[in-house]
Every structure is written in structure tokens, then in C-alpha cells.
Amino acid sequence: MAFLQINNVSKSFGRAWAVRDFNLNIESGELVSFLGPSGCGKTTTLRMVAGFETPTSGVITIGGDDITNKPPNQRDVGMVFQSYALFPNMTVAGNVGFGLKVAKKPAEEIKKRVDEMLELIHMPEYGERYPHQLSGGQQQRVALARALALRPKVLLLDEPLSALDAKIRVSLRAEIRSIQQKLGITAIYVTHDQEEALSLSDRVVVMEAGRMEQVGPPFEIYNFPKTTFVANFVGTLNSASAEVVDPARGLISVDGVQLESAQDLKAMKKGDKVRVAIRPERFNFVAQERKANVADCTIENITFLGSIVRIQVKIGDTKFYMDTFNNPFLELPALGAQDQVTCSKEAVLVLND
């Protein structure tokens, strides 16, 4: 039995459903992120695990205990908020030790545990500072230490890095991941940033309009999106309407250009309308003679994005992005030039919605 179970949980506010039929089992020590645009229900689901919202229906259990209707202060769940939420009237040590003080632990034990936690977040000398004397990144690390000080069964993180600037975000997310793995704590991480979700999770739950779209390891979510929504939301994606030409051979056609897909299309019929998706980095210019998946194109636009160069090409009447790694010797094609692009048949994803 999984450590944290969310079974058939739904939540409505008035007539609107914030979350519908949410089912998820999280193993002990696993970090699962809820990824989706704002209003998709990811934060509501997290708040139901924390106890700040009560599910309209469904059951949530931690380690076998039904906690669905338990008040938040009896759940043994640590929470980190986007806005840090440190107590402004207490020092860093006071904040980290707050939960232990509430639990009436002896003073020496609190002190020892606080020191341990400050060591963990690499801020041992900051104990006597007040929150307003710290930077955003430091405040969030203290908030993390505070949530972990009570050794909760589950750690919940609600967009913890959204208020920080890009550099700190990257370094802090690595730190969060390493602390989570070091302590082996079960965690749920809510974010709208796909890069964050992909880089630190064991599994990603992509949500939209209160429903789970897809659940899986980051690699799977990125490379094999099951729905158009997932494909579009996670990473940059070209998607176009296509028509099935030969289901047995996996042949489809985009604006008359035939492409071969590695996917099994046998369930479809010739002439079926489908959506097809191809990641920009899977395209290449044709260097040598190839037979399959070659398309004539016109160069429409070129955007420099640092480590990669994004080229917009037009195949038939459909525009696609293709990405190529930047290097100083790159010979970029001229705008409006005719060229040929190709991609492997594994790159051609036929979406099933």
C-alpha cells in the first residue's frame, strides 16, 4: 500500500469543480510534482492534503491513517508557502523552533534540532537574525527548515520558488531536491514551471481544469505526452492537424507532406483526422539523402535563445519550430530560403484526444 493515497478526491466551490476524481498513490520518499496552469486545481489538491480545504468527496490517507477530515494542526504535514510566511516577530531560530515549542519539547532538544536544521540549510550563523534581514532565497530556506524541524510525514511545497529570481530559483531547487533525498521525506511540489517540475521530481502529475491529464516520470512526460494539453504545456511543441494515410505503416499527412510515425496507428482508419506533435529539437536539416520523413520547407524566422537557436520553418501551410544547438561556427540559413528538414519516425507523436 502506498504511503500517501489520494482516492477519488473531488472538490467543488459552489457549482464550480476545482478538482475532479483525483487519484494518486505516492510512495514513501517520493517527490511528486503537480504541474499545470493557474486554476488547474493543483494548489487546491495540495491544500486538501494539508487540511486547509476539505474534499467534497474522496479519501486521503497517510501511512494508512484516514486524514480526510483531520484539522491541519494534527496532520503531521509540513508546508512551505510561496510567500515564505515566516513569523516576522520571531528570529530565524524562533521560527525554526516554533513547531517544537508548540509541541512542548524541552529547551535543549529544541536548540539541538534548530542547530541541526540550520546546518542542513547552510545557514548556521543566521539563528539570531530576523526574517526582514534576510534575502528572499534565505527566507525560503528558513521556511523549509521550519517545515522540516518537526520531522513531518509529508512535506508540501506550494510554488516555493515563484517569488525568487531566476538564478536563485535554479540553485534552490537543487538544494530542495538534495535535502528531500537526504532525509528521504515524501513530498508534493506544486508548480506552474515545467522546467522545475521536470528537473526535481520522481514523478510529475500534469493537471488541467481540475483533472489529471497525465502522470509519469519527467522523461516520459516530456518525450511521450499523451494529450495535446500535456504536449503543449510541457516544453515547446509543434502541433498540427494531420490525416491518417496508411494506419498499417504509421503514415500520416500534414498539408500533403507524408510523415511516418513509430506509433501504432492500427486502431485508426485511413482518412481519420488526428493531431500530430513534434518537438522542435527533433528536426534536422537534411544533410544527406534520406528516404523517409523528408519535407520541403521555407525558412520563416530565426530566433537566438542563448544555448539554442530556434528556427521557424513552413512545411506546406503549417509553421513548425526547429531547435538547433548554438555554436559560433553555425551556418544559419537565410530567411525565405528553401531547404529540407527531417525527423525520425519516433519523433512524430500522434496524440490521442
Binding site: F52, P72, N73, S83, F87, P88, G99, H132, L150
Partner: protein, 265 residues
Amino acid sequence: MKSKNIWAWIILIIGLVYFFLPLLATFEFSLKMIKDRYTFEAYRVAFTDRQFYLNFGYSFLWAMLTIVISLLLVVPTAYWVHWRMPKMRPWVEFVTLMPFVVPAVVLVFGMSRLYGGGLKLFGTPILVLTGTPILLIAGYVVLSLPYMFRAVDTGLRAIDVRTLTESALSLGAGWRVIITQIIFPNLRTAILSGVFLTFAIVMGEFTFASLLYWPAFGPYMEEIGAMRAYTPQALAVVSFLLTWGSIGLMQWIGRGSVQEVTAAH
């Protein structure tokens, strides 16, 4: 631009003269108890009257009781409104503004009628409170509501009530701990402004104390004013200084918190 400036100054000066001239005149008059020279004789007389200390002491007691009850009523209410019922805020604010709409005289008459035997159960008057100071304190709490509520409300708006509450909850804290250790300390400045305003109001209040027959500074001043010429002027100056002292203290404490906030950025 320049002429506008001059007009602004002229209006300011007219305003200041209008406000301060009577005060200065009162002060000047209070110094003339002994013929042909300025002395503080009126103040000496005022401060040697035992009745002064008695009435002042009572007013102080009423003020302290009012402050305690007002805090116990307003802080949890305002906190709950902020956390759970933000849509109710305008209504609660409207209710707290009642003393600005209903004159104190009307309020005190209504209260003494209702709680002076007007409320009957099976023909027997119940809740007869006119012999106790409860009515007086209750009335003062109502008078202090607009100031106390606004002060606390402003303080609550400056902190993220919801997230602070939730993080305390997730750390195992109960309501008593949240109110006493998180909310009260973070509202210190706001609460102190409410406290000083309430103090100033109760110390100078006349209508309630006079009509409910309780000793207080306001009625005492009125009584003295009817009998003597110079001492009441001295007392008026003293009570002005008291109010200003409260407001000054409030400003001074408030300034500290502004510095704290700036240091955070």
C-alpha cells in the same frame, strides 16, 4: 505655481490661528489667577484638589477596562473577518462606525432605558445594569470601536494573515497560540495606536459618565467650570496636553515600525 503656494500658506496660517488662538487664550487666562502677573497658581490649586485625583483615577480605570474589553472584542473579530470572511469586512466596518452616526446622548438614553428595567421577561425586569459600571464601559467600548477597529484592520492588512495562520496551523499550533504568539505581536503598533486613541477619548468623555452618574474627569471639569474661573482653564490645558501626549506617543511608536519595514527592502 508660486501664487498657489502663497495661497496654501495663507490658508494654513488661517487654520492654525483658528485652532491655536483659543487654546493660547485659554492658557494665557489660566496663568492670570493672581492679579498683574503670570503664575501657575491655578494649576497648583487644580492639582491640590483631592477630587481631581479621585475623578482622574476613575477615568483612568474606565479607560483601562475599556481598552481591555475593546481589544478582546476587536482583535479576534477583525482577525476572523480577514481570515475567513473578507466579504463581511465592509459590513463590520459599517457597524463600527455607528458612534459617528448615533450621538452619544441617544445611545446613553437608549441603553439606560433598555437595561434600566425596560427589558422584561414575564413582567419582571431583567438585565438591570444601571447600578453597575457595565453600561458605562459598554458604552465606551462602542465609542472606541471606530478607532480600535480601523487601527487593527490596518495592521492586519499589512501582514499576510492567511498564510501566517496556515503556516502556524501546519506547525501544530492551536488558536490560542496563533492569536497570542503570531497575531498580537505582529499587530503591536496597530494595537497601540488603537489603545492610545481609546485612552484619549475615554479620559475626556463627558456625556456617558454624567448621564450614568459615574465619577469621571469630564463631569468633574464641568462641575469645576460652574464654580471657579481659573482652575477649569488649567484643567482644559492639562487635558489637551494629555490627548496630544497620547497621539505623540502613538506617532513615535508607529515611526519605529516604518523603519523596520524600510529595513526589510
